[in-house]
């Protein structure tokens, strides 16, 4: 349908000023809200993330598309029946104690949100207890980020704290950051090592 193509295009090109008008147009034309969501907004993001993996689209473009998609979703929210459009899962993410790096982590947070996860961005320089608290509250997915050799040992501390609290098997743990690798993730007992945000999304999808 011509209307939906315009919506897909607007997400792909990051047309923040036009998206809400276009989504409203589609609604007015009688298109089902869930159809607009799945066949236009989500589809637009799929195209973006695919082209991003191929190296043709830059991260700032991905972020703008994600922002555009979310702006479009704001129009649809009141119309979506309860149960649809709900988050695919809740993902808490943070940077470990003593570490201030957050760009990569924030990127993961934004992209996970844009593909339908609810993300709790815990921030930086976090005590292990902050992560434990999240699992206590029922969060199933944890992402732990670190960029310094001196702080990655905190990752193991967090995992050990969860073990001690009897919560380790209640969650899946992702680790990421430049000094991290698969070997380290295996050594400390993390469930997943993500090279980047796209990798994390693939891994989450593989859990279904």
């Amino acid at each position: 349908m011509a209307d939906l193509t315009k919506v897909v295009d607007a997400v792909y090109k990051g047309r923040l000023k036009e998206i809400q008008g276009l989504v409203q147009e589609a609604l007015d034309a009688g298109v089902e809200p869930t159809t607009i969501l799945d066949e236009a907004l989500v589809k637009g993001m799929d195209v973006v993330t695919q082209k991003w993996k191929e190296g043709q689209v830059f991260v700032p473009e991905v972020l703008r598309s994600a922002k555009t998609m979310q702006s479009g979703m704001d129009i649809l929210k009141p119309f979506l029946v309860q149960g649809t459009g709900e988050a695919k899962g809740v993902f808490a993410i943070g940077t470990v104690k003593g570490d201030l790096h957050d760009i990569g982590k924030n990127l993961v947070a934004m992209l996970l949100e844009s593909v339908g996860y609810k993300v709790i961005n815990l921030g930086i320089d976090l005590d292990p207890s902050v992560f434990v608290e999240q699992v206590e509250k029922g969060v199933r997915y944890l992402g732990i980020s670190a960029l310094l050799t001196t702080t990655i040992p905190q990752m193991k501390v967090i995992i050990d704290s969860l073990e001690e609290a009897g919560l380790r098997d209640k969650c899946k743990i992702w680790v990421g950051g430049a000094p991290v690798n698969q070997e380290y993730a295996d050594e400390i007992g993390a469930d997943f090592y993500s090279v980047d945000a796209a990798h994390c999304i693939d891994q989450l999808n593989s859990l279904k």
Binding site: W52, V59, P60, I103, T149, T150, P179, D196
Partner: protein
């Protein structure tokens, strides 16, 4: 390569990406950033020091607004030139300042390509010792910034052992980053024992330190504390800023350079407030971010541009400059590893960077070192130094009389003039292969990586730097429980 026993020191400055008016505009932007946007100082003691100078501050946001007046005073207080000494060989002292160019190692890579298997593995204390020895041998490594991290040591043992491993295996200046306040103090004490006393070490420092500021515009709690500890020691200190374009600094090069200068200069100011007259290197480790992957693009040509501009700004301020060049983001020693490093080393050398680190040995976003790449990069740097040496034009070099003697149709091969100048005028490669194909094939048809590996093996086997005196080592062993060598 041209003067044995005298390292580097040729003048750069032939490459000036910024016009005089550009430099002035950048300075104005830097002053605006420091005095209007402000620098966040998350270390309480450091904050109080800035506040005590009567400049405007914001307690709640932990911001200090460094006035142009305070900046000028601090720049005046810092020496414009430093002699960085070499333990065991004063010929290897280097004078850092002006447009004099020196290159050296760096990076504190966490991994290294194993010399035998070529596989990437964690670096160890033994690698610190071996790479230091290799750097000691390579003529175009004019100083050492401790190259790799000893993953086999717990953090409290890292500082003192890393420094000793480097110092003991090289007779060139050693600079290194520090990880803990206690570790820093142990390094100073240990090196005072080696020098004979703290005063002797301060007077003729054969070591110096590195503490970073955080981009954008922040002196944090931990590194603020380490900066102050290092400044109190009276030893030279590099204070690098590393904004990455489009991520922690503006995407445009001029804006990124403005930010990085504001950041490193705020560190310089703090050092002067702690200890007036502290020798500081205005420092840049900045490069671009690859916005397709968010990688830290250490091998990008923009790294060369940024560091060349920052070198010019340091010359404008009359400060010694620590810059970055020579790395590659390749995971192996291949063509990419060659061309990326060659371009950035040439740009920053020709811009007159005084202390250009990371210039040898680094791959993969500075995460991985390679023994073979140190050797290859040494060759690149030899060529860069030849460029800096320039072209001498006088009657002797114009050689009109020689041409007259040779005459049309003759040849120059047996001329005295050729004989006299041939070794000084031209760079003689040790890595580049210029053999006829038949000879190259007979010798095993080896590629650059293989030929470099053979040189490494030879150096590690045969080269012997002057170690620290054994009586002193015994005393160090007895005094420091963290010392493991």
């Amino acid at each position: 390569m041209f003067k044995r026993g005298k390292l580097g020191g040729l003048d750069g400055g032939q490459y000036r990406p910024l016009s005089d008016s550009d430099v002035r505009k950048l300075h104005q932007a830097i002053v605006r950033i420091m005095s209007e946007i402000g620098i966040k100082v998350a270390n309480r003691k450091a904050f109080e020091l800035f506040k005590s100078k009567g400049i405007k501050t914001d307690e709640e946001k932990q911001l200090v607004f460094i006035s142009e007046g305070l900046l000028e005073d601090c720049i005046d207080a810092a020496p414009s030139e430093l002699i960085l000494h070499a333990r065991g060989n004063p010929d290897n002292n280097i004078i850092v300042g002006g447009k004099r160019v020196h290159f050296g190692s760096g990076g504190t890579a966490l991994n290294i390509l194993d010399l035998e298997t070529g596989e990437k593995r964690h670096s160890t204390l033994e690698d610190v010792q071996n790479v230091s020895k290799l750097l000691d041998y390579l003529d175009n490594a004019h100083f050492q910034v401790i190259p790799v991290y000893p993953n086999d040591l717990p953090i409290e043992k890292v500082d003192i052992n890393r420094f000793f491993a480097a110092i003991n295996n090289t007779n060139k200046h050693c600079q290194g980053g520090v990880y803990t306040i206690q570790g820093t103090k142990e390094v100073v004490e240990m090196c005072s024992m080696i020098a004979g006393s703290l005063e002797k070490l301060q007077k003729e420092p054969f070591i110096s330190f590195i503490t970073c500021v955080i981009s954008p515009l922040e002196i944090d709690e931990v590194y603020g504390g380490l900066l102050m500890t290092c400044a109190e020691s009276g030893l030279p200190l590099s204070i690098p800023a590393e904004p990455l374009t489009g991520a922690t600094g503006p995407i445009t090069i001029a804006g990124n350079v403005a930010n990085l200068c504001a950041e490193t200069l705020s560190g310089l100011c703090l050092a002067q407030l702690v200890n007036c007259g502290t020798p500081v290197l205005m420092a840049c480790t900045s490069t671009s971010t690859d916005l397709r992957t968010m990688s830290y693009a250490s091998g990008s040509v923009e790294e060369g541009l940024i560091n060349a501009c920052a070198a010019q700004m340091a010359q404008f301020y009359g400060l010694p400059y620590y810059g970055t060049a020579g790395q590659s983001d390749s995971k192996i020693v291949d063509a990419q590893a060659g061309f990326e490093g060659a371009i950035t080393n040439l740009l920053v050398g020709m811009a007159g960077g005084n202390f250009i680190h990371d210039a040898l040995g680094l791959l993969e976003f500075c995460l991985t070192a390679s023994y073979e790449k140190y050797v290859m990069d040494n060759e690149i740097l030899g060529e860069v130094m030849r460029v800096l040496k320039g072209v001498e034009v006088n009657d002797e070099t114009l050689a009109v009389e020689v041409t007259a003697a040779v005459g049309p149709g003759g040849n120059f091969i047996q001329e005295d003039h050729t004989f006299e100048h041939m070794r000084n005028e031209h760079f003689v490669p040790t890595v580049a292969d210029r053999q006829p194909r038949v000879n190259w094939a007979k010798a095993g048809a080896k590629d650059t990586y293989t030929r470099c590996k053979e040189i490494v093996r030879d150096v590690l086997q045969n080269h012997k730097p002057i170690p620290v005196d054994e009586t002193i080592v015994k005393a160090i062993r007895a005094k420091f429980p963290n010392f493991v060598q």
